[in-house]
């Protein structure tokens, strides 16, 4: 077994073990912490598809995270108030069914990602970073200044949405849903990466002209990868809203885009399990530093800075050595 594969197994099984150990030790808080890691890692897995495999440095993935969150929140609120979301041209009722919410979240993110991607992918490099940021900011300000769904204060919904056959209010069952979603995201990433499409995507990153010469349009490959990436991050957003039973503009803020990007870079850009390693390290650091000092952000910044300056290739890079290819 390759070293990276072994590390991936340890990371995946480790995350699964944490909540059960926590229950056994009667420390239910850690179940929530592990759920947070799983959800944010999934958002990172989504971004990694665009950023790691496709070289598209999207600084606006919080847009999709937030859209997914708002999809969950808005549908849940409408279900709670028993008033339909739309009556014209056809009726869309609110819902508490997670599966329906996920589908809506993914569809919304796909639509928005197509629109953003069509414009943003015409640019490259720094311009791409900034235009994705600009679109995310548009959605952020839209959410802030639109009073119907909470505006600046966000939306609280009091009951976690339901999943058939499970009690989502039970922390461990909700964790298992999020964990399954993360694993599904990772599985999909792996399949995409090793497919013909994944190969085309990686060539689009390395040498666009060569890809075009084989008769594949780099733009289309990138757009599809960008949309899939957005959908995964959006699904994570829907789960995150359910975790907190709250969705607000902070889920759309550029700080969050930065954080998701940090998970990816910290874990190792383009590594399959990089986002999981990064999210886990970031959240554990945040948690422990927060317990030690009020000024934990200062030290978090210092640690991150040292990691960038002195540790190349992120956590997985250090543990597993160089990548074989890509």
């Amino acid at each position: 077994m390759k070293r990276e594969t072994a590390i991936n197994w340890i990371l995946g099984l480790g995350l699964l073990a944490v909540p059960f150990l926590a229950l056994w030790a009667d420390e239910t808080f850690y179940v929530t912490l592990a759920t947070r890691v799983a959800i944010l890692a999934l958002a990172g897995v989504g971004l990694n598809l665009a950023l790691g495999f496709g070289g598209m440095v999207s600084f606006g993935h919080a847009a999709f995270f937030g859209l997914g969150g708002y999809a969950a929140g808005i549908l849940a609120i409408h279900a709670f108030n028993q008033e339909p979301f739309l009556t014209v041209p056809f009726t869309i009722a609110g819902t508490n069914d997670m599966i329906v919410i996920w589908i809506v979240a993914i569809l919304v993110c796909a639509l928005v990602a197509v629109a953003i991607g069509m414009i943003a992918l015409r640019t490259s490099g720094v311009y791409f970073i900034m235009i994705t940021l600009a679109f995310a900011q548009m959605i952020y300000y839209f959410a802030i200044s639109w009073p119907s769904y909470g505006g600046e204060d966000g939306l609280s919904f009091y009951v976690r949405n339901g999943f058939p056959g499970l009690n989502t209010l039970n922390p461990i069952e909700f964790f298992l849903i999020c964990y399954a979603a993360l694993m599904l995201g990772l599985f999909l990433s792996a399949r995409l990466r090793d497919s013909r499409f994944g190969a085309a995507l990686q060539v689009a990153r390395q040498n666009e002209v060569r890809l075009a010469a084989t008769g594949i349009a780099p733009f289309n490959v990138r757009l599809v990868a960008y949309v899939i990436s957005a959908c995964m991050t959006g699904l994570a957003g829907a789960l995150f809203a359910d975790l907190n039973r709250f969705v607000g503009p902070s889920m759309l803020s550029w700080h969050l885009s930065g954080e998701i990007m940090i998970f990816v870079i910290l874990g190792g850009v383009g590594r399959l399990f990089g986002p999981l390693a990064g999210a886990a390290l970031f959240i554990v650091l945040e948690f422990y530093l927060g317990g030690i000092t009020e000024h934990w952000q200062f030290f978090l910044g210092l640690i991150l800075l040292c990691v960038v300056l002195f540790v190349r290739g992120g956590v997985i890079g250090v543990l597993a050595g160089r990548r074989d290819h890509g």
């Binding site: 490099g125 200062f298 910044g301």
Partner: protein, 306 residues
């Protein structure tokens, strides 16, 4: 909507734009010359504001505060460049984003550590208090007019610096071919430190000037930073002229949008709805502007390179 009100808002927009220019000039130089994305530029703005407020409160002189903010921000910039930024020039943009994001955390939390969470307030210097009557009858605060004047003077100064002086020649040369000017015997490391400190000083000046209009608080640099990025992307990265025009465009569109859009929608909507639609669109206006410009000209209006 009277002409007087429109003039005032237009001037507010220009004043805001000039402020953005002070931020954007440094960003675009660092971007253009060193190819570095500096997310921590907003922290230098914050440092300028805090230094100005602290020194002004301690000594009672706004002007001493202004000098302190310029010197302090330049010094902070130089230190950061030597300690951190220098190691990032050869890295890809991702590492730069992560490292400068980390710097934001350090600076913001460090400032909160020293000054606490409460905002500071800085008074407008007595000489610049009061209003001026403009031709046409509009009354406009003297302080804001001064900011516009200072900003335009600095824009002109920067233009002279870059197009007429030896330092400017080196900056331009560094933009197009860093190996070559290194081979010609220019000390690139020092040059980069100087450019970075210059950009930091401009950001610090912007923070100090704005400190007298708004409250001085932790995190004040971040919204401005994002706008400054919008400005340089619209203007074309590396172009000081593009930064000036982009900044004023963004400032005016943002300010006028907030006034005009709600009124525009009120023409054919009920009042409360018009306000929410109008203000939602107004806060998105500059990003829409940016998306349109980039969709038409992917390299910005006055792209220097490429």
């Amino acid at each position: 909507m009277t002409l007087v009100l429109l003039t005032e808002q237009l001037l507010n927009g220009i004043q805001f734009g000039v402020m953005l220019f002070l931020m954007a000039a440094g960003l675009t130089l660092v971007f253009g010359v060193m190819g570095l994305i500096n997310l921590a530029h907003g922290s230098l703005y914050m440092i300028g504001a805090f230094l100005c407020a602290t020194v002004a409160l301690a000594t009672g002189s706004f002007w001493l505060g202004l000098v302190a903010s310029l010197a302090g921000a330049a010094a902070a910039g130089a230190v950061v460049e030597i300690a951190v930024i220098r190691r990032l020039y050869d890295r890809d943009h991702l590492d730069q984003v992560l490292a400068t994001f980390a710097l934001i955390l350090i600076f913001s939390e460090g400032t909160r550590w020293v000054f606490g969470s409460f905002p500071l307030f800085l008074d407008i210097p007595p000489v610049l208090q009061g209003a001026v009557t403009l031709p046409g009858g509009a009354e406009y605060p003297l302080y804001r007019l001064t900011i516009i004047a200072i900003g335009l003077l600095i824009a002109f100064g920067l233009y002279l610096l870059i197009s007429r002086t030896r330092l400017g020649m080196r900056i331009r040369a560094g933009e197009s071919d860093r190996e070559m000017i290194g081979a010609l015997g220019v000390d690139i490391r020092t040059l980069y430190t100087v450019v970075f400190a210059l950009g930091a000083a401009l950001a610090g000046l912007a923070g100090a000037l704005v400190g007298a209009i708004q409250s001085v608080q932790v995190g004040m640099g971040e919204p401005v930073l994002i706008l400054a990025f919008v400005v340089i992307v619209i203007g074309g990265i590396g172009s000081v002229k593009g930064a000036l025009i982009g900044a004023i465009l963004v400032g005016v569109v943002d300010t006028l949008g907030r006034i005009l859009l709600p009124q525009f929608f009120a023409l054919f909507m009920e009042a409360s709805q018009a306000t929410s639609v109008g203000s939602a669109l107004a806060s998105m206006a500059i990003y829409i502007l940016m998306a349109i410009i980039l969709a038409v000209k992917p390299q910005g209006l006055f792209s220097a390179g490429a």
